[in-house]
């Protein structure tokens, strides 16, 4: 057992898989010599050499395209897109190429690759470097989408993603990079598509992802301490595949649903889950399903503004409290 940062976990997760499988290769901008702009890939070049760990030009389409062509022919590439906002400059690969080639070819082509990318707000970087864009990927049929919230999950889900035979978009949260967590020694391999109940509770189910997970947990403690409300907190972890069973199972016990989403409101993953619940668990619900999201606006840079724009512990707790008491 060691204490690692989320950032260190990224490098360890990649190293674990590169050690296991010589077909795992890694490319991206400033990822090799510089160890990544978030220093999340430090040491990989030294450990695996310049043939497997490669710096690229600023050419996101070439990066993802090259990953796809390599994946298609037998390698297992991990590609870094530095900030998830930049998925927009290579979105054709995300939306039209990776997820469709297997289907269009009637199963002849494969696309086993991982795109890892720094997602989310909190660094005062402003509207073009702070977005939570997991929904850009969730809405595309054919992709898998994960977003770990702890160092341990970073490693386990990275292993699952690399070993998965389909394209996986792996969202690392920039504000979690410095966060520490206990990580067991030895190989860690998780499974895609499993949510985790982090805190059992009976009064309401709170779903959260990535940076919102610690906030939801803190809000649950606050609700317990201040209002005697006992919330079940679930880390969704994987948007596709989605662990609907764990979510619906929880709801069958608590009868109330809250989602905590960092994304701007419209068409967020919470909307999808709420719509599943509204259809399949309508009679389980004792009250409105409530989404707690970032307002539907571009993100501001200023610290004071950024601090109030994402769902906070207080906003989560207050929303749940008010909703349960109305």
């Amino acid at each position: 057992m060691a204490e690692l940062t989320y950032r260190e976990a990224v490098a360890r997760g990649i190293a674990q898989e590169m050690t296991r499988d010589p077909d795992v290769v890694f490319l991206g901008e400033d990822v090799a010599k510089a160890g990544g702009v978030f220093k999340a890939t430090v040491g990989l070049l030294d450990q695996f050499g310049p043939v497997r760990v490669r710096d690229t030009p600023i050419s996101e389409q070439a990066i993802l395209g090259a990953a796809m062509g390599a994946a298609m022919t037998g390698l297992k590439p991990i590609a870094e897109i530095m900030f998830s906002d930049f998925l927009a400059v290579c979105f054709d690969f995300i939306a039209n190429e990776f997820p469709k080639s297997r289907y269009m070819s009637n199963g002849q082509l494969k696309c086993p690759l991982v795109v890892r990318t720094g997602n989310g707000a909190g660094s005062r970087f402003g509207a073009q470097h702070s977005q939570s864009v997991e929904n850009w990927c969730m809405m595309i049929p054919g992709l898998k989408v994960v977003a770990p919230s702890t160092p341990r999950d970073v490693i386990g889900l990275m292993a699952a993603a690399v070993r998965d035979p389909d394209p996986v978009i792996f969202f690392e949260h920039k504000s979690l990079y410095p966060m520490k967590g206990e990580v067991p020694d030895g190989e860690i391999v998780d499974t895609l598509g499993s949510a985790k109940i982090l805190r059992p509770g009976k009064d309401a189910t709170i779903l959260a992802l990535a940076l919102m997970v610690p906030r939801a947990l803190a809000a649950a403690e606050k609700l317990k301490a201040e209002a005697g409300i006992d919330c079940e907190v679930i880390d969704v972890r994987s948007l596709v595949p989605l662990d609907t069973q764990t979510i619906l199972g929880s709801l069958a016990r608590t009868h109330r649903l809250f989602t905590v989403e960092e994304n701007p409101r419209l068409c967020g993953w919470g909307a999808e889950i709420v719509s599943i619940v509204a259809d399949e668990a309508f009679y389980d619900l004792d009250g409105p399903a409530v989404r707690i999201t970032t307002p539907h606006i571009p993100l501001p840079a200023a610290d004071t503004l950024e601090d109030i724009v994402l769902p906070t512990v207080d906003r989560i707790a207050e929303t749940v409290r008010r909703s349960l008491s109305s």
Binding site: Q61, I63, A66, G69, D92, S105, P141, P241, D243
Partner: protein, 345 residues
Amino acid sequence: MLKKQGRPPTAARKPQLNDDIGEELRLRMYGMQVTIRQAEQRAYDLFLQNLVKGTSHLSLGQEAVATGFAAAMRPRDLSFCTYRGHAHTLARGVPVEKVLGELMQRDNGLMRGKGGSMHLTSAEHGVMGSYAIIGAHLPIACGAAWRAQYKGTGDVAVCFFGDGTTNIGAFHEAVNFASVWKLPVVFVCENNLYMEYTPIGDVIPVKHPAADRASAYGLEAIVIDGNDADAVYRAACAAYAKARAGGGPSLVECLTYRHSGHSRADPATYRPKGELEAWLKRDPIKIYRERLLQFGVEQDAIDAVDAEVRRDVDEATEKCKAAGPPPLEILTTDVYADGGWAWRN
């Protein structure tokens, strides 16, 4: 001096069948061009009978490019095509039936109708997909070449695209990337003078959409006669040899012309008078047939090839007509590698 005086002028130009290409390969290349021609003409006929669904983009007139590049490939080399990919797919040896079946969206099609005419794929023949978003497959071909480099296989990735494609961002990123990484990829620009309906000359400030961009990537400017399968074959051999030797990518611009419209919906009325006629005189199949004759191949042998291809295309057509539509169960198969489409439990 002796040459000039001693031989009659025709004899001086008398070509040699036993040159670097040779008779057998030439007959194969002739057969392939005729196969592509007849298969595509048949596709057009079937479209007129409302039997080809969706869209389709014919390469009538461009058969020499597909033929020459494919003929120079080794079996493990990989082709990356566009929506205008029937020719390249056939040129790798994919049966006519499979291609027509896909165009007719039948169960016997290459992808059982799931992909359609713009996405012809036959992995077993090295046809690693046809891509319908302009430019996307150039970076993808880089990736396949990267794998070949990484594994030291000696395989080459060959990527076909049009003149209009040279203006999209992915072109630029891919060619630069390939050049910096010295990837064994050959970029083949089929300059047929038009994008959909707009002449390429209207949208570039240079003469050659590909060759005039080559130096930006440290590459040689290569322009070849895309209607002469021999010229294409030789350019292909040179590019592949360079790639296999670790010399990196090539960008080859082939001058050619499509005889029909951009897609089945296009009567191609935007072409200046006489342009088509001029290019028909340079029809690659006509050129090649004349060359074979000139080389001493018998008319009968040539006719036999034509007839055999026709039998093959007729037979394929019948099989396709007899084939049913894809079964509805395949609607949701092969979204993911587990064979299904489950995005939830």
